[in-house]
Amino acid sequence: MSPEPAAPMIEFAGVTKSYGNAHAVLQAMDLNILKGEFVTFIGPSGCGKSTVLKLISGLTAPSGGSIRVDGMLPKNARETVSYIFQDATLLPWRTVRQNVGLGLELEGVGKDRRAEKTAALLELVGLGGVAKAYPRELSGGMKMRVSIARALATNPRLLLMDEPFAALDEMSRDRLNEELLRLRAEQNWTGVFVTHSVAEAVFLSTRIVVLAPNPGRICAMLPVDLPWPRTAALRETLEFETLVAQVSHELRGALSQ
C-alpha cells in the first residue's frame, strides 16, 4: 500500500497547549501535514517547536482542540511513529546492535527477525563495522546514526525529529542531513523536523513552518521547491541561498512580533 499523496498524516485543528496558568505555549494552531511531506518547524526559543512534536507523539495532551495522526488519536498511532531526540539517548549497557533492536524487542519481534533487521539498518547508516561496540566508544555523529537506525528499525511511516543534529559540528550535520534525505527517498516516511538552523531547514524540507513565541503560533509557511535529489552541491546554488535569506527574514519578523 503506497501512501496516497494527498492524504493527511497529521491534522491539527485549533490546538492549544498551556501548562498551568502560564502563557499558552501554543495558541489555536491549525495545520495539516500530508503523507510524504517533510515539514520543518523553526522559530525562536519559547515558540513551542518541541511541544508540537510532543503533541503529535501523544507524550502530552493538548489543552484544547483536536489532533489526528493517520486518522487516529496520537497515542493509538504510536506503532507507525518513531521519535528521534536531541541527544542520541542510547542505552549505555547495550551494544550498538542491541540498541538498534530495542524498538523491535519492545514490540515483541522475534530474535532472528530482529537480528536480520538490525543488521540491514546498520549497513544502511554505515555502521556495519561497529555493531558490537558500546555507545561510549562512538563519536557524537555515530551515536546519532545509531539513534536514526533505531528509529527506522520499526518501519515508521512518520518520523519525528527534535533538533537531532544540534549538538554536532557543522560537517557531521551536513553529512547526516544528506543521509537522512537518502533514507527518506528509500523508505518513504513522512518527516516532521524541529531545528534552529535555517540552512538545515531549507535543505531538508518540502515545507517550512515559522513559529512566533508568546503565545506560540504559526507566523509564516514557506514551501521549499528545490529539486530532488538534493545533494551537497545544492547548498551553493542561488535558489538555496535565496530561500535561506527568505526564511531568515521571516524568523526576524517572528522575533519582533
Binding site: L59, F85, Q86, L91, P135
Partner: protein
Amino acid sequence: MKRRLIVIANALAVFAGLLVLWQLVLWIFHVPPYMLPSPWAVAKAVGARFPLLLNAFQITAEEAAGGLVFSIVVGVGVALIFAQSRWVRRMLYPWTLLLQTVPIVAIAPLILMWFGAGTPSVTLIAFIISLAPIIANTTQGLISVDENLVHLFLMHNASRAQILFKLRLPHSVPSLFVGIRIASGIAVIGAITGELYAGSSRVGEGGLGYSILYASSQLQTDYLFALVLAATVLGFGFLFLVMFLEWYFLHNWHESARAPEAE
C-alpha cells in the same frame, strides 16, 4: 601503569615511615609492651596465632558477607517497590532513615536477647546496618532515568514491566554499586560490633570482634593489634572486591566507571 606504581610506592613509603615512628615512640618514651607492643611483637603475634587469627577472620568475613548479600537482595527489592510511585516513596522512605539513625550498639543487645549469641545474630546486625545505603542509592538510580529515555520506551508502547526491567533496573546498576561500596565497609564494622555483643562465647569460635574483646581483657595487646590489623585487611578486602566487580560489570558502558587512563 607507571602512575599506579608511583602510588603504590608512596603508600609503602608512608607505611614504612609509620612503623619507624611507632618504634621511635617506644624507644623514646619507654612505653610498656602491654600498652603499646612493638611492630615486631605484633608481627610475632600474627605468626604465633595465625590459625586462630585466620579462623576469626573467616568467621567475621562470612558474617559481614552474609549481611551484605542479604542487604543487597532486600535493598534492591525495596528500591523496586519505592520506584513504583512517588506516593509510596513519600510514605515509606522516611522509615529507611530510621535504619540509618538507630545506633547499632543500642539494638545489638536486643538482637542478642531475641536470637541468642552466634553467627545468625551477627549476620543480622551486619544486614541491618548495611541496608540503608543500598536502598537509598538504588532508589535514586531507578528514578533518575532521563525523561527522553522513558519517552522512547513509551513511543514503542513499552509496558510498565518493560520500563522497569529493561530501562530503570539496568540504569540503576552504577548507583547500586555506589551503595554496595558504602555498605561493604559498614557491613564489616557491623559484624565486628555485633560480635562484641553477640559473638560466640566459646574461645576459639568467635570472630574478630569477640577475639578483640577477649584479647583486651587478657591484656594481650600484641594479639589485639594483630586483630585490628586483620579487621583492617578484611575491610580493604571487601572494598577491593566490590571495586573489582564494579569495574567488571560497568567498564563497558558507564562513563564514571571508566578507568582514569582512558580519559
